[in-house]
Amino acid sequence: MTGTLLVQQGGHCVVTDLGRVRGPRYGLPVNGALDQYSARAANILVGNKDNEPLLEITALDVRLRSTTDILISVTGASLTLTVGGRECPQWEPVSVAAGETISIRTMTGGLRAYLAIHGSVETPSLLGSCAPDTVVGFGHRLMEGDSLTTRRSVRPIRQPYFDLPLFRLGLTRPGISTHPVIDVTDGPDIEEFGETAQKLFTGTYTVGDRSNHIGLRLRGDLPERQLTSEVLSRGVPVGAVEVPSRDELLVLHRGRGVTAGYPVMAVVTSLSLDALAQARPGHLVTFRHTTVAEASANYRSAMRELDKLRTRVGTVFGLLGLESDTSESETRQLAGSQSARGKEHPSPDPSMNSTRNIDVKHNNAS
């Protein structure tokens, strides 16, 4: 059964996914959730495929009211989450009854949170992704009075006696620090900076005010390019560390222009890009040198954590009679495949599953 999410307070909130991976070949940035780990986790926690549309909430308070019973999860930056006035945990599935308001307030210790909804929401897509693209003018930013169509309804799942949290899925949450250590590998053009490239690892940098989804601007002791020759435009990776001016270091994030003519001194690892997505202006950043082999090993280890979570969610949701998309290979391929999103499966009728619900409650309470 579809429902509606009414936007009572929009804050700075967009509908997004893991990004437009087919964009770069056409000159469009990949965009999508800046903290990919938190976005994947949010979707997995409600039994969705990793790449389903979800909400990315930046900094400001958001309030949404659901017209139907739904199941949500909120990950990313620490904040106060209440549903119908009850304080609820982040990084766990949370039931929302019809008519209740989801309130996200006082985000601290990070900049971006992710709200996923079991069954996801209806949203237009461009090149297989709903991620906003500010240059092309595509995407849905929530404004007060807007509504979103939710695709599935889930009867409230509650612990019957003490209203204890029903789920304890036990995902390792990434620590969000006000002084993150950011891992970088050598960029393809590091030699153009000579000895000054080492400055990146000796100084501390401050996140500047003009930082956004395109890139973070950092103040500090800057390496200097030793050459003056022109660089032909070429594809730059997300995470590229460049020195475009005498004032700032630029670290490109997922909204980066696909081509540019600046030398790439270093590249931030995939996991550290998630950490940078949570850095606020004024936060300090220290860089640490790593290798591609080590960075890939760490990334795979983080993805294995999510694989384990997906398995646990599959088990729990199976017992509850809820649908979940636990096939990881299918999930992963979706993010990179040529074809658009998979077909929607019909929702099971939640009222059919009351007996199994009680079993799980019993197990959980014991």
């Binding site: 991976v21 087919r22 770069p24 070949r25 056409y26 000159g27 469009l28 940035p29 990949v30 461009l126 090149l127 693209d133 240059v135 092309v136 003018g137 595509f138 590998t185 050598d186 960029g187 393809p188 022109e230 032909l232 435009s233 070429r234 594809g235 730059v236 990776p237 997300v238 995470g239 590229a240 980066r256 222009g257 696909v258 081509t259 540019a260 003519g261 790439v264 590249v267 931030v268 690892t269 995939s270 591609v292 960075a295 890939s296 990334y299 795979r300 993805m303 992963r332 391929q333 993010a335 990179g336 040529q338």
Partner: protein, 237 residues
């Protein structure tokens, strides 16, 4: 059969930069575009796609599903196939782009003329004199990137990039030329503007041209600009 040399550089844990080093610019360009086409159509698991430009190619991948080492091996295998079969070539489409030069349409036209030591009319003549091969699609939003007009000197970028350059801006920098499909910040010298719309977010691809297509500029007046305003850029017959 000859073997084309490519250099493979690490570019983080989720990308590689491939640079063609044949010693011939035209062949370098053909090589990286043939390689991009091969990778895009291969459907290799974990490879998101490839961004080819002039002499280089950025290959982006999912570091969980594949690895830099595997992608490197795939690229080298692809190169052997491309060398064996040869790059497939497609008949280029032709485009004609009307441009209003100077004034409000091209605020940097006189600056470029001064720098080149030519008068404004000569700059416009040179800009409309040749056919341009679209070398690649770049930022922002599928800009057609081309080798520049036959000016005597490379054109320096603006010292203070503009916060916003309008859609349709026709610009030059270094030895390159470009048209902006969407409004974006820019540091290139804007010498004119086309009234045609290049970008249509409701179709795929979003722009009507592909690398390898050929484009010419035609001078129009300010009155003509209003007449064409908002019409889509289409293949000329």
């Amino acid at each position: 059969m000859t073997t084309t040399t490519v250099e493979v550089h690490e570019a983080g844990d989720a990308a590689l930069r491939i640079v063609a080093a044949t010693g011939d610019r035209e062949r370098d360009w053909q090589t990286v575009h043939a390689l991009a086409g091969w990778l895009d159509s291969s459907g290799m698991e974990g490879i998101h796609g490839a961004v080819p430009t002039y002499d280089s190619l950025l290959v982006e991948f999912d570091a969980h599903l594949t690895s830099a080492r595997q992608v490197r091996a795939i690229v080298l295998m692809a190169m052997r196939q491309i060398d064996f079969v040869g790059a497939t070539s497609r008949a280029p489409q032709q485009f004609e782009v009307p441009v209003a030069y100077g004034g409000e349409f091209g605020p940097d036209l006189e600056r470029v003329a001064d720098h080149e030591g030519l008068d404004v009319e000569e700059i416009i003549r040179l800009h409309t004199a040749k056919s341009y091969v679209i070398r690649c699609l770049g930022a922002p939003a599928g800009s057609p990137m081309m080798d520049g007009p036959d000016f005597p000197l490379p054109v320096p970028r603006l010292k203070d990039p503009r916060i916003s350059v309008p859609a349709g801006a026709v610009s030059v920098a270094g030895r390159q030329a470009v048209i902006a499909p969407a409004s974006a910040p820019g540091g290139w010298c804007v010498i004119g503007q086309t009234p045609l719309t290049l970008l249509d977010a409701s179709r795929e691809p979003l722009v009507p041209y592909l690398p390898g297509d050929v484009l010419r500029f035609r001078r129009i007046s300010a009155e003509d600009f209003t007449r064409y305003d908002g019409q889509p850029l289409e293949v000329s017959l």
